[in-house]
């Protein structure tokens, strides 16, 4: 609008800022989970995930080594040298210290009296120097350097730290305690046939509804539109009994059939709408040339309908991958061998409710595949939504 009017107003800035705020608000929850999945258990419980983005500032109380054991005589004084973190046991070697000391003190009342590299005068010639990596030199006479080590209060900054251990544990742990790697395979097993089979069935039906003349065609289209919104909740009990009666029971075959049935209305609707829009000339000249309907369909319509087929494939893939209800009713039996990821995550929410490193990682494993599909095939998804927004 502004560009049409030929003026750029302050409003443009307001728009940029509002969109930025909106986008941040919308990705914030997902980012939180993603970052949490790369943090260790300790980090997750001691600070919010947003703290992981910034260097963590920590106040610690450390101690020098015991002077009775470690002091050495030098120039008539006694000296204890070492590294505060090595003494503490948090690192093995002074070169590996992750944190950087910014301020330190020797009294709990004044923990930031000195900066790194300063020398504190403890009175009567006793002195201690602390470097930013925790190296210290403590100098004093025999009486001063005795008993326990000198306490040093440090304010240290450690850089953000991330780990892949959670993913290693959830996906590749041979004990497979969380059951996610098996659930991943099961989800994949459910998803792929449940995506491909309805496409094929729907494509033929859509062609008939779009390009063949027969009595009752309008009625059938109306029926498809009606079935688009029928809640699948209605189908659970009748179909489960049916599956039990004909001997399928709970299992992959049942869940494939169910997903095929539930996905068909959208598939037929999307594909028919697309096929109706194809140019009539092509089809008619093919007919004149003696092509049968079967040939027209496989040689002309199917290749031309690729965008619509891709749209529906993405929908169906996302829907079957993310589904919980259909899998719980038609697939997962009491043995739990065939559990899918969504079900497994709900299970973990119940049993491992506080273990966010497990939950976040498991959830992200299940979210990752749809997200990849989403970002690579977004064009088709949008096109499909626009064509099928009746659902």
């Amino acid at each position: 609008m502004d560009s049409i009017a030929g003026k750029k107003s302050g409003l443009t800035w307001a728009v940029h800022i509002s969109v930025a705020a909106l986008v941040l608000l919308w990705i914030f929850p997902t980012v939180g989970l993603l970052i949490s999945s790369f943090r260790t258990t300790d980090q997750i419980v001691t600070s919010g995930w947003w703290a992981a983005l910034f260097p963590a500032v920590q106040n610690e109380t450390l101690r020098t080594a015991d002077p009775d054991d470690f002091r050495v005589a030098r120039d008539g004084m006694f000296v204890v040298e070492g590294n505060l973190y090595v003494v503490d046991g948090s690192v093995d070697d002074a070169a590996d210290v992750p944190a950087e000391i910014s301020a330190w003190g020797t009294s709990s009342r004044a923990i930031d009296d000195y900066v790194a590299g300063d020398t504190a005068d403890l009175g009567d010639g006793e002195m201690i120097t602390v470097q930013s990596n925790g190296d210290y030199v403590w100098v004093g006479d025999e009486e001063q350097l005795s008993g326990r080590g000198q306490r040093v209060f440090v304010t240290a900054e450690s850089p953000p730290e991330f780990t892949l251990d959670n993913y290693r544990g959830v996906l590749f742990d041979p004990a497979n305690r969380e059951g996610m790697s098996r659930a991943f395979m099961n989800t994949l097993t459910v998803t792929i046939p449940a995506t491909i089979i309805p496409i094929l069935i729907a494509a033929f039906a859509a062609y008939a509804l779009a390009w063949m003349d027969f009595p009752g065609r309008a009625l059938l289209v109306a029926a498809v539109v009606a079935l688009l919104v029928v809640p699948l909740q209605l189908a659970l009990i009748p179909l489960l009994s049916l599956h039990n009666d004909i001997g399928i029971g709970k299992g992959y075959l049942g869940v494939w059939l169910a997903h095929t049935g539930f996905g068909l209305p959208l598939a037929i609707y999307l594909l028919r709408n697309y096929m109706v829009g194809l140019p009539r000339d092509i089809i008619e000249s093919a007919k004149v040339d003696g092509a049968t309907d079967f040939q027209i369909f496989t040689k002309i319509i199917l290749p031309l309908s690729f965008p619509a087929l891709a749209s529906f494939a993405i929908f169906q893939f996302l829907w079957t991958w993310n589904d919980l209800l259909v899998a719980m009713v038609f697939l997962i039996d009491s043995s739990g061998e065939t559990t899918v990821m969504t079900r497994q995550i709900v299970e973990l929410l119940g049993t491992r409710g506080g273990d966010w490193e497990i939950l976040a990682t498991s959830a992200f494993v299940s979210i990752a595949v749809p997200l990849v599909v989403f970002f690579t095939m977004q064009r088709y998804l949008v096109r499909g939504l626009l064509a099928g927004s009746v659902k």
Binding site: V19, W26, G48, L220, L227, P231, L264, L325, L359, V382
Partner: protein
């Protein structure tokens, strides 16, 4: 046989079977039953063309009938019978039994709350996002990020938001952002957000709003782009300010699309199950119809009342169903 292999075999059998069915049934029709040769060639072509549509649609009609149409009637029948009495007809008993259940009315009340709030908020946010992102250079990236939650499962979203609503004891650091902010702003003690009746419903709805806004945005953004430039230009020439242009020129022209978005989200809301199931499982007065139905059918094993609850969902969908069919038929003419 390993499930993956079984899956592969199924794909081959399923796809191969489908292709074989379509191919051979057409061959049968054209070569054996009604060959376009001989004295009856003309009549045979007509006959074959009359049968062919049904060959093409056969599997689809079978699947739709068995998996969607038949269950509607079967559920209706189940809701009028009693399973423990060997499937005897009991009239409206299941419905009256359900009407006396407090949990049912709680579910109905909550469902209405969901119906009021979620479609309205998703559409409003979607419209806002569509209008704003259409005007800036990085709008497509912004859209794609707001659209992203569409790809995330309800269960995944439940985990994401459980982390946001997480509450820890007062004396340790809060890891849920909501409580962290709340304490920063001067709150006394961390709150377990999902257990406060009434408000916890809102916290569950936020999850669905977060997911559905992207959908609303994509559809509405396309509608906004479809508005003829001239109408907007004319308004600018007449001295309309951006807000007047949006509310008085653009909104009326996309009202049809807004209705479509609204009804589509309404249907999603009516079927909402996973979010409630994963986050509260209907505790603390957050029950909704779909979860109530699941509870009755698969936990209490009461098919009668469960089917009655499913019929209530069907009843609530019916107006939209009729409206959609009406519109589709209008378009076809």
């Amino acid at each position: 046989m390993s499930p993956a292999l079984q899956g592969l075999v199924t794909i081959i059998i399923g796809v191969g079977g489908c292709v074989a069915y379509f191919y051979f049934s057409n061959q049968l029709l054209d070569k054996v039953l009604f060959p376009p040769r001989g004295p009856d060639a003309g009549r045979n072509i007509n006959r074959a063309n009359a049968i062919r549509p049904w060959l093409f649609m056969g599997p689809a009609i079978l699947a739709l009938g068995l998996y969607l149409a038949y269950p509607v009637f079967e559920t209706l029948r189940l809701s009028l019978t009693d399973r423990s009495a060997g499937g005897a007809f009991v009239g409206m008993d299941n419905y009256t039994q359900m009407a006396q259940d407090g949990k049912f009315w709680e579910a109905v009340r909550n469902n209405f709350l969901w119906l009021l709030i979620v479609p309205a908020m998703s559409t409003a946010f979607g419209l806002l996002a569509a209008q704003l992102t259409d005007r800036i250079s990085w709008g497509n990236i912004a859209k794609s990020l707001i659209f992203m939650p569409m790809a995330i499962s309800f269960v995944g979203a439940a985990v994401i938001f459980k982390l946001i609503y997480d509450a820890r004891p007062e004396d340790v650091a809060q890891i849920g952002i909501l409580n962290a902010v709340y304490l920063q702003l001067g709150g006394d003690a961390p709150i377990t957000w999902l257990t406060i009746p009434f408000w916890n419903n809102i916290f569950l709805m936020i999850v669905l709003i977060w997911i559905q806004t992207g959908f609303a945005m994509v559809i509405l953004s396309a509608a906004l782009r479809g508005i003829p430039e001239e109408t907007v230009e004319a308004a600018i020439v007449d001295g309309a300010n951006p807000f007047q242009i949006f509310f008085k020129i653009k909104m009326p022209q996309i009202s049809g699309t807004i209705v479509v978005v609204w009804t589509t989200i309404t249907i999603v809301v009516l079927k909402v199950f996973d979010i409630v199931f994963a986050m509260t499982n209907g505790q603390w007065e957050t029950q909704v119809l779909a979860n109530y139905m699941y509870d009755k059918m698969f936990r209490a094993n009461d098919w009668g009342v469960g089917s009655a609850a499913a019929m209530i969902i069907m009843l609530m969908v019916t107006p939209i169903l009729v409206w959609n069919v009406y519109n589709a038929r209008k378009e076809m003419r």
